[in-house]
Symmetry: C2
Subunit: 205 residues, 2 copies
C-alpha cells in the first residue's frame, strides 16, 4: 500500500475514495447530484480517472448497489435463530440498515440507474434476498402461515415502506428513534394493536 497522499502518479485507492465521496454526495444531495467529474475533483485526480474503475456512471452506482445488498445481507444475517420475535427483528434490522446507509438504499432500488443485468449485482441481490427469506421461512411451524410468501411480502413491504417514507421526509417522527417507531408498529399490545387495526377484521363492530 503506497503512501496515501503523496504527489505520486497513482492514487493508492482511488476506487474506494470515489465510492466514499459518492456516498457522501448521494446522502446529502441525492443521486441526481452525482457527477463523475466532481468526484474526480474531490479525489484530486483527472476527470477521466474514475471511469477506469467503474466504466460508467451506471457502473459506479452499480458498485454502490452491490455493496448495499451485501451490507443488507450482513445486517439481517445477524438475527439469531432463537430470537423469539424474529420476523419483527428482521424488519427492524432492515429499517436500521436503510436509515443507516441512506445512500446505498437510495440506489439499490432504482434499477434504471444501474447496469441491472450485471452478474455481480444479481448475485449480491440474491444473497440479500436469501438472507431475508431465511429469516422468514425458518420460523417455527406454529408461526408459519399457509402462505409464507405473502407474510414475507407483507413484512417486507411494511419495513421498506416505512424506511422509504422516513427517508423521503414523508413519515412523521413519532419517537426519538425511527427504529423504535417501527417496532411499535408491529408490536401488538405495545400500547396499540396496530397490526389488528390494519387487518380490520370484517366481523362487525
Amino acid at each position: 500500500m503506497p503512501a496515501p497522499h503523496t504527489t505520486s502518479y497513482h492514487h493508492g485507492d482511488l476506487r474506494r475514495a470515489v465510492l466514499g465521496a459518492a456516498l457522501e454526495v448521494i446522502a446529502s444531495e441525492g443521486v441526481a447530484a452525482i457527477s463523475l467529474r466532481d468526484l474526480a475533483r474531490r479525489a484530486e485526480v483527472s476527470h477521466a480517472a474514475p471511469a477506469h474503475h467503474f466504466k460508467d456512471k451506471a457502473g459506479l452506482l452499480t458498485a454502490i448497489a452491490i455493496e448495499g445488498f451485501d451490507l443488507l445481507a450482513a445486517a439481517v444475517d445477524a438475527v439469531p435463530a432463537e430470537e423469539p420475535h424474529r420476523l419483527r427483528e428482521l424488519g427492524a434490522r432492515y429499517v436500521e440498515f436503510a436509515l443507516g446507509h441512506p445512500a446505498h438504499f437510495e440506489v439499490m432500488f432504482q434499477p434504471r440507474l444501474l447496469h441491472a443485468d450485471a452478474p455481480e449485482l444479481t448475485a449480491a441481490k440474491d444473497r440479500a434476498y436469501a438472507a431475508l427469506r431465511a429469516g422468514i421461512e425458518d420460523l417455527p411451524d406454529a408461526r408459519r402461515t399457509q402462505d409464507a410468501r405473502r407474510a414475507g411480502l407483507a413484512a417486507w413491504s411494511l419495513a421498506h415502506g416505512f424506511a422509504t417514507l422516513r427517508l423521503s421526509g414523508g413519515a412523521p417522527e413519532l419517537d426519538p428513534d425511527p427504529v423504535t417507531t417501527f417496532r411499535t408498529l408491529v408490536t401488538p399490545g405495545g400500547g396499540e394493536r396496530t397490526a389488528q387495526a390494519l387487518a380490520e377484521p370484517p366481523e362487525g363492530v
Copy 2:
C-alpha cells in the same frame, strides 16, 4: 382554443403537451432520462420554450408532483364512508394510484428533484394527506386504536412499500393483479393470516 397542429407560432397547449411527454418518458425510462430539450423536440417547439411554462427542470417535476398529489387525493377521497373495510380499501386505492400513475408516483416522493418549498406543492400535499387522514380517523369507534397515528403510519407504510417494491421490480407477482395481492396481504382469513404473522405475538409456540 386554436387549431391543434397547424404551423402557427403558438402551440396551443404546450404546457399540457410537455407534461404528457414527460410522463411518458418517466414511466418508460425514469426521471433521470428527462431532458427539457428532448421534451421540446417531442412537442416540436424550440429548445427554450418549455422553460416559459415551468421555469426549471425542477419546476416541471414540481408540476408533475402537484398533479400527482391531486390525483391521489381524488383517488382516496372516493372511498365511501360506509365501506366496511375502509382502511383496507384506502390502501388498495393508494396502491392502485401508484401503479396506475407510476410517473407521478416516482416524482412525488423525491423532494430533492423538486422545488420542495413551492406553495402549490405543499398545498397539494396537504390536500392529499388530509384525504388520507380522513379515511383513517373517521373509522368507527370500535375500530379506532388508542393511537390512530401509528395505525395510519403502519397502513401507509405497508401500501407505500408494496407499491414501491412492485414498481422497482423487487416484489414478486403472486396474482394476476397487484392490487389483489395487496388485498390478500391485509385480509385475515383470506387464506392466510398475514397480519397476525406479521405481528407474531410473543406468547410461545
